[in-house]
Symmetry: C2
Subunit: 358 residues, 2 copies
């Protein structure tokens, strides 16, 4: 299936793109690729904005590697299409005719383009495309809800792991009879607002949304999805600690959703003894977290935010339906950046903190 | 206490070294510093092996920063000394007269050298030293057991967090009535052998020690601390998966103690659904773990190995006393590298996999 043999798909040079399915695979007829923003930017710059040259390179990458993975950025994107055939042992839970989006990166997805991308001018991350893609047994795909704008669904699904894992962690505290105080650093962002709603949904004793600037505090306050909203720079451990204390902390569960380096110490310091820190930010430094907790003699459980939890897409879409405040925050963000694209393999790498629509 | 105000001690330029104690502090009369190996090597190279120049620079660093933190490597080391005075609200659990070692890095520890390091030739990481150090409320110090060679105790304490956290994770499974299968990647190393003993001690259903070369397999097999020993290169996910399967896996708990990059995918793939991966290796890449699990649709809990768990030093020393196989592995290692020094802030960065004494 892969070259070189023995590596996992993301690291593989080239994927096998045979049309025929193994029993656990699914073939999708592709209608659109969403290139990862970092990848598209790199291609655009490399070709000085020459759309035809960008298109030619994307075609060449997909033809030679069997997948869309920018060799410079390493990233891919996601795709939308319709299920064409389902292997008899597939566990993906989709049937032929379902309109789906992939929740794993294009860097893991065998892809064949059949139309030479003739409907794409090479000037946008949104790539109309005819062709097919193969999802494996361990891939993840989600049905696109019919009652919601596709763009809204995709934006939610892009960060759905944060909601599901936050809910799971909070539920474990609740099951032990100790509903937790939950703090979300970067509570006004996409993953942050979903995490706040998930914490409340799962039975948190209270929720604290932590944001760096007044405007975000205003927006988050108006959305009504956090019990308390507080201002702090998460890179300043003592300042963060003080703000969280004043807001009702320390937190039993701290969720880090803000994508700036250097937030590990503050998150640890703001978390109660035997509490849990969930790091979703891709800017998290493993050594900074490990040595930071040790240096502070902090007995906290630190989780690497796994973007996959079974049922995560449905759960996050459900939160969007139930919490008007979450939906308003996503819609506000989409209105500000209507063409923003996503790569599940680059979840929180996109938006910077404070980059909320005015 | 710190400059600049608001940062945590490790990031501080300069620590306050006043002799007088705050109520939660402890003052230690220092007898020896163990410089971190990476730090000493850098100093030695920078001064072309001129011991007097190395000594002069260490004195200058400690005088100007109030702590021993190599400005190039960022690392410090640990110290041995005797408790001189204990603040009335200290929670460190030591009394005046106790011989102790610090379990937090020297980069966090206010230090004053009083003898100009006149007994040190600048040619070894072991630095005889007269002076004092201040331990804070959140520092960690451990009494050096009188019945064990000090070097052996220090080697164990250097990696004691791995034992205590492994035991905690295993105990949680046992408490739910599901004693886990535990795999330790790098089972023949210091933290790895302690983790294997801790897993058995905490009630694991079975333990699998995974090592990269036959010689380590022989040594680990002879020590008798793993139920099964298997050979695999942890950087090859499919090879590791196959080896763990053949050894009785997948594992409910996988502990990563081997300090090479690129082990994340294999560890995730070798772990059962709803299992737990504990990453102790400082070579762990946060994005590789997060995106790897997502890409594999692997519903596993991933922990950042926090080096601090209350009681960890006593627990690890207890394992050393109870498991002759653990002690033999540590002694073998010490015999091969008698001057190896350590920095709690660089735990697993020292020994490379496969670097076991012949």
């Amino acid at each position: 299936m892969l070259e070189p043999v023995g590596v996992l798909p993301q690291a593989a040079e080239r994927l096998d793109t045979r049309r025929e399915l193994w029993p656990d695979e699914v073939r999708v007829r592709v209608e659109r690729l969403n290139l990862d923003a970092a990848s598209f930017r790199q291609l655009e710059q490399a070709h000085h904005g020459d759309g035809a040259a960008v298109r030619a390179q994307v075609l060449d990458i997909v033809r030679s590697r069997g997948k869309m993975q920018n060799p410079v950025t390493g990233s891919g994107g996601m795709l939308i299409g319709t299920v064409e055939e389902v292997g008899r042992r597939s566990r993906l839970g989709v049937v032929a005719g379902d309109r789906v989006t992939t929740l794993v990166s294009l860097t893991l997805t065998p892809l064949v383009i059949e139309d030479g991308l003739r409907d794409w001018d090479g000037r946008s991350e949104q790539v109309p495309c005819t062709g097919y893609a193969i999802l494996f047994g361990r891939s993840i795909a989600a049905k696109i809800p019919e009652d919601l704008p596709a763009e809204l669904s995709l934006a939610v699904m892009d960060v759905c792991g944060a909601a599901a894992l936050t809910a799971r962690v909070v539920s474990e505290y609740v099951a032990r009879g100790k509903p937790p105080i939950v703090g979300v650093i970067g509570g006004a962002g996409k993953s942050g607002s979903l995490a706040l709603a998930a914490a409340r949904d799962a039975g948190a004793a209270s929720t604290i949304g932590i944001v760096p600037i007044q405007h975000e505090a205003d927006v988050l306050g108006a959305a009504g999805i956090a019990d308390v909203v507080t201002l702090a720079d998460a890179r300043d451990p003592v300042g963060l600690f003080d703000a969280v204390e004043a807001a009702g902390g320390p937190c039993d569960v701290t969720v880090v959703c803000v994508d700036v380096p250097g937030c590990e110490g503050g998150a640890i310091l703001s978390t109660a003894d035997r509490g849990t820190v969930v790091f979703f930010s891709m800017a998290t430094s493993f050594p900074a977290a490990a040595l930071g907790a040790e240096g502070l003699a902090a007995d906290v459980t630190m989780l690497i935010g796994n973007g996959y939890v079974p049922g995560h897409a449905d759960y996050a879409v459900g939160l969007l339906r139930s919490y008007a405040g979450v939906r308003s925050m996503f819609e506000r963000r989409l209105a500000a950046a209507p063409t923003a694209s996503a790569d599940p393999g680059a979840r929180q790498q996109g938006p910077q903190p404070g980059k909320m629509a005015p």
